[in-house]
Amino acid sequence: MSAPTGITRATLLKDLRLEWRSKDAINSMLFFSLLVVVVFSFSFDPNAEESRRIAGGLIWVAILFAAIVALNQTWAREIRNQVLDAYRVSPAPANSLFLAKAIGNFIFVSVLEALMTPLFVVFYQLRPLGPVWQLLIVAALGTWALVVNGTFFAAMSLRTRSREIMLPLLLFPISIPALLGMVQATTNILTGEGARVWIALLLSYDLVFTTACLILFETVLNAE
């Protein structure tokens, strides 16, 4: 169990089990994004042509706001009973903890997306003109981009006053290129234009920031 992958798996399974039993994050995320969908539908006329142009932005903004909920409680759980301090003094590598948390959040947000997409399709009468399988790639890359930086910044904002507000303040500016990529890729697939460039952008964003997170996470975890 002491191997890095073992620690990642153990932490991940623990988080998934906790979430499975409490369903705190997923319920609040679902309800929140449902509210966003309904509120947005008042602000414009959801006919097929209009929605196709606007839905990409809508979906991702709803998911971004909802993901903040899951990201904020990632580390809060470990503060109770000084779990994080115990982890710090243990010889376990910091990055396996980070990966477990990031993968956990990735799963939560992906579940949210899987549940929300049908709702979007129904409410906004979406019928994509481009290849649908590309949406899966965009969703996976985009979610990872949000979640990997989000997990990192959540660990950072733990050490600040008013940490719940701090996370979006740190995460949103850095996520703007990724968000632009996701929105444009989704819109282009829905309207039937090419999205290759945006997928390449998302992929390189993911690679660069995952590397940066893995290099710097130990510093942030042990910051005193």
């Binding site: 701090m166 500016p173 660069v208 920031f209």
Partner: protein, 286 residues
């Protein structure tokens, strides 16, 4: 040190007033835009100054993180040398964009490495944190000037205050990133602030190319007619622009310097107060 400050202050005042005279009187009036174009000398120079300050913030943050142990410090120095070497090599062996001289690119590469080692030799590790903070603060001020003078210029020339064009948007996003950096510094508790801030600065700097390219893709797909695109500049205007840039750089340097001294004194006072309360509490009987 104490004498140099007022001397530099007077020099800056002289250069600034000379630059003001050059920009308002000497520089030729632009044909189509007229007098309003003169804001150009402040708009562009502030932008250049802000970008340089953000770059200093990045280097100082890297050094703060890397100099905690000698191994990473050596790696970072190696990377700084390698970056300089690659830029110089690229300047001469790969085709550079038209209108850019290879020697200018090579000089930039050497300046990057030079700046890295200048900061490395002049600042201790604790001081690089102060430097990072000061350069971010002053950089945000200059970036704000850019964002304010831009619309003032755009309104009479383009007929609109703001457009989501590539450069405007990327400057705004850059401003947002560094404001979030300052917010983090303000909100985190004292001991860990330098480390967290340095980490965020590195994330912000990594983000800059992505911001630039994403907005470039975005705007090439939906071209805007407002930007005139490229074009040459009158050599007399270029001359005035460079004088103004010199003046603004001196001014920024002066502000950074005084802010740096203020921050150092502030930290000394805080340390002294902490020590005092510590000795008092150990002396006083229970």
């Amino acid at each position: 040190m104490k004498k140099a400050f007022p001397i530099l202050g007077i020099l800056t005042a002289i250069v600034l007033s000379y630059a003001l005279y050059q920009a308002l009187v000497v520089a030729p009036t632009e044909q189509t835009m007229g007098e309003v174009q003169r804001i150009f000398y402040y708009h562009v120079t502030s932008a250049w100054t802000a970008f340089i300050l953000f770059f200093i913030n990045f280097i100082a943050s890297v050094q703060y993180l890397c100099r905690s142990n000698s191994g990473t410090d050596r790696i970072a120095s190696g990377v700084a040398i390698a970056v300089g070497a690659i830029v110089v090599a690229a300047a001469f062996f790969t085709p550079v964009p038209s209108g850019v001289r290879p020697s200018a690119v090579a000089t930039t590469g050497l300046l990057i490495t030079g700046l890295y080692f200048l900061i490395h030799s002049r600042f201790s590790r604790a001081d690089t944190d102060v430097l990072a903070m000061v350069s971010a603060e002053v950089g945000v001020v200059f970036c704000t000037i850019v964002l304010v003078t831009g619309p003032i210029w755009a309104r009479p020339v383009w007929g609109i205050w703001w457009t989501w064009d590539m450069r405007l948007t990327s400057t705004l996003v850059l401003w947002l990133i560094y404001v979030s950096y300052l917010v983090l510094r303000r909100f985190s508790s004292s001991g860990e602030t330098p480390l967290l801030a340095a980490t965020l600065a590195i994330f912000g700097a990594l983000c800059v190319p992505f911001v630039y390219f994403s907005i470039w893709f975005f705007r090439t797909q939906h071209p805007q007619p407002v930007i005139g695109g490229g074009g040459s500049i009158d050599p007399r205007m270029m001359h005035v622009l460079l004088i103004n840039w010199l003046a603004f750089s001196c001014f920024a340097f002066l502000i950074c310097w005084s802010r740096y001294r203020l921050e150092k004194l502030q930290r000394e006072v805080e340390q002294a107060q902490a020590m005092e309360s510590l000795t008092q509490s150990s002396r006083s009987p229970r």
